[in-house]
């Protein structure tokens, strides 16, 4: 029947195969090798930082932590392509992007170490902090893009909002509502779905009956692309085009980046309960860091010596950050109260005193003096 709304399957954009071999003509920017080397270095540093974070958790020095192992390419490329004044609306596996944005690793460790100050430093600019309630940040991104658009129409330069989320997040109504708005108002926003095939224990295929997740963008009349999320060249192409479109006032884009969660969901999870190891092994073959290293090797742009130097540098940077994190003194008890309102209500002033008193009593060890 002709009335049926049909869906063409998009082909996944890809330039490098799993071995880092070139699959088709490369875009010209890749011949200026700096960008690719920078991507590689950033990804390696991020992976080291990520593994350190896992180690801190394992040794009782940090709380539950969601590793980004395997997703470094997506996060790195997104952050690299944004300008300083653009706004990143990250999700919890965006450690690589945050670092690329110039946010110290120690901030991220502090956050997962249970300290609000991890989202507080100036380095964050106007970027949003981590967002735990899944997909709620999709609405924030649309709102940020709305603010940008309103101000642009009043004469300010156009900025772009870029919002990351997972495959599971695409099932939550917030995401659909935000896409619908982005399409209706032609907002300068890019939504990037980190499709790592799993939402904790729920595999992609029981998360949605849609053959691709990017086609959720079609529901909102948005251009939507699928890209190999482990291929920095393909990512760069698709994401930069989307950012450019947004910056030119041509509206929003939905990108589905295909990747794989090479780790447990978080350090509190044990993926072997629900995922078989052969799938994991296969995914390791396609991972982004090795792929880019091999490409750079082939091109003669990278060697073992450079690798060693990079690792050493990464360790140095990370150790400094970890030290910073571990040496951060506890917040003050007052901090529990001082940041809720610009104008603190009388009640809260009283409760702050109560909290300090409680604490003193406990310090004194006396329960009822």
């Amino acid at each position: 029947m002709m009335t049926r709304s049909e869906q063409n399957q998009p082909a996944m954009e890809q330039y490098l195969d799993a071995e880092g071999e070139v699959m088709k003509n490369l875009p010209s920017w890749t011949f200026n090798t700096e960008t690719l080397i920078d991507y590689y270095q950033s990804m390696v540093v991020a992976r080291c930082g990520d593994q350190k974070a896992v180690a801190l958790q394992r040794t009782g020095k940090m709380g539950t932590y969601p590793s980004c192992l395997g997703q470094e390419a997506i996060s790195t490329v997104c952050a690299a392509l944004l300008k300083k004044d653009d706004v990143l609306i990250p999700y919890y596996r965006d450690l690589p992007g945050l670092m690329k944005r110039g946010i110290p690793l120690s901030d991220v460790l502090l956050y997962w170490g249970g300290d609000e100050r991890g989202s507080a430093s100036d380095a964050w600019g106007k970027d949003l902090p981590n967002c735990v309630p899944i997909a709620t940040q999709a609405g924030h991104a649309a709102g940020i893009a709305t603010a940008i658009k309103i101000r642009h129409e009043a004469g300010e330069p156009m900025q772009v909002a870029l919002c990351a989320l997972g495959d599971g997040a695409t099932s939550k109504g917030d995401f659909g509502e935000a896409l619908n708005l982005a399409g209706t108002w032609q907002l300068p926003v890019v939504y990037i779905i980190n499709n790592n095939q799993w939402a904790i224990s729920v595999p992609r295929k029981i998360q949605s009956g849609a053959p691709t997740l990017c086609q959720k963008g079609n529901a909102a009349g948005l251009p939507s692309f699928q890209v190999d999320g482990n291929d920095v060249i393909a990512l760069h192409e698709v994401i930069s085009e989307a950012i450019e479109r947004a910056r030119q006032g041509k509206g929003a884009t939905v990108i589905e980046a295909i990747t794989y969660r090479l780790c447990d969901h978080t350090t509190a999870d044990d993926a072997s309960r629900y995922r078989n190891s052969s799938e994991l092994e296969e995914a390791w073959q396609k991972e982004p860091v090795k792929r880019l290293r091999q490409f750079l090797h082939h091109r003669g742009l990278w060697d073992e010596q450079k690798e060693q130097a990079l690792k050493a540098e990464a360790d140095r940077v990370i150790e400094a950050s970890v030290k910073n994190y571990l040496n951060t003194p506890l917040p003050k008890i007052e901090d529990l109260f001082d940041y809720h309102y610009a104008n603190m209500p009388a009640q809260l002033v009283q409760q702050k005193e109560e909290a300090l008193l409680r604490h003193q009593m406990r310090q004194g060890g006396a329960a009822h003096e």
Binding site: E116, S119, P129, G139, A147, D174, E177, A342
Partner: protein, 326 residues
């Protein structure tokens, strides 16, 4: 210069003045543009300020709250309308998890100066879900403010203050009295404070505490009591969160008696907190237990029976007299 305005006109004027004063103030919501809002609260503002500052959104309350958070985090001052309070629930995750926390979570790096307006309460024979009073749900959330005007003058002054406020405010408008009376509002009125109750009538024998539309019945009860030789003090709480217990305490320490009146269902309502606060801090002054005159612990009935649900003047009078028996 002053104008006589109904409450909904005062709400409109407050937004008008706020928009004139600050280009960052942006209105959004369902049907607030050409249509001027289903209660006409935004009437004329789109023509005056343009469709970039008076924005009709798609039908999605989660989104309305979510984009307001995003806009506010970028320094705009969104004033969002939820068409009826009965449709505010999809916004709760955004309000609780983000609006209320953005400042605290970032230690002040980002903040969330949004206002969420919603008409609320019963008594206008509206369809199902159009008459709820769930202010208690928001009052429990740290980081929010909850404000309820009970007259055109307070609607104007409190809404101006809410829009000025650097933190999120839930602004609930008792639609039963949207057009109940006109009051003179000065063109140069100042914002009213968001941290105090208003004493509407001074009295000696019993303190009547209420807010929103029920202030009408409460004031009526106070004059009936006058006829019985009973002098009632009437307090309009106005700002439900943070609660100004000091004003209520001072009054009850004087009168020794208190009746709390609200439309919302009784259990776990705002009245409970006021009563508990009096228990804790005015125990020795209380001559008689604090009474609550409220809606019942039932769903707001459809309109044929809503009158049996809502507290009436005579209920307040009776409860007041009861407190005087002790």
């Amino acid at each position: 210069m002053s104008k006589d305005l109904t409450m909904v006109e005062a709400v409109n004027l407050a937004m008008d003045h706020a928009m004139a004063a600050d280009p960052n103030v942006v209105l959004l919501g369902e049907d607030i543009g050409v249509n001027g809002g289903v209660f006409r609260a935004t009437q004329g503002l789109r023509d005056k300020y343009g469709l970039k500052r008076v924005i009709d959104t798609p039908l999605a309350e989660t989104l309305i709250a979510g984009i307001s958070v995003g806009m506010a985090a970028q320094g705009l001052k969104p004033v969002a309308e939820i068409q009826f309070m009965g449709f505010i629930f999809p916004a709760m995750e955004q309000l609780i998890c983000h609006a209320a926390r953005m400042r605290n979570r970032t230690r002040g790096r980002l903040s969330c100066p949004l206002v969420l307006r919603a008409p609320f309460g019963g008594g206008i024979h509206a369809p199902e879900h159009h008459s709820e009073s769930t202010e208690a749900l928001f009052a429990h959330i740290p980081g929010l403010r909850v404000v309820i005007p009970s007259s055109p003058v307070r609607a104007y002054g409190l809404l101006r203050a809410a829009i000025n406020e650097p933190d999120p405010v839930i602004f609930l408008e008792p639609k039963r009295i949207y057009r109940a009376s006109k009051k003179a509002i000065d063109e140069n009125s100042e914002p009213l404070p968001l941290d105090t109750c208003f004493t509407l009538k001074v009295g000696q024998d019993v303190t009547l505490v209420s807010w929103g539309a029920s202030i009408n019945e409460t004031m009526e009860a106070a004059s009936l009591l006058e006829g019985h030789g009973i002098s009632a003090e009437v307090i309009d709480v106005a700002t439900i969160k943070p609660l100004d217990m000091e004003t209520i305490l001072a009054s009850v320490r004087k009168t020794g008696r208190c009746v709390i009146v609200h439309e919302a269902c009784r259990s776990f309502g705002v009245g409970a907190e006021i009563s508990a606060g009096l228990m804790e801090r005015a125990f020795d002054d209380l001559k008689s237990p604090v009474e609550r005159v409220t809606g019942f612990d039932t769903t707001m009935p459809y309109y044929r029976m809503e009158d049996h649900y809502l507290p009436h003047t005579d209920d307040i009078v009776r409860a007041s007299i009861k407190t005087l028996a002790n």
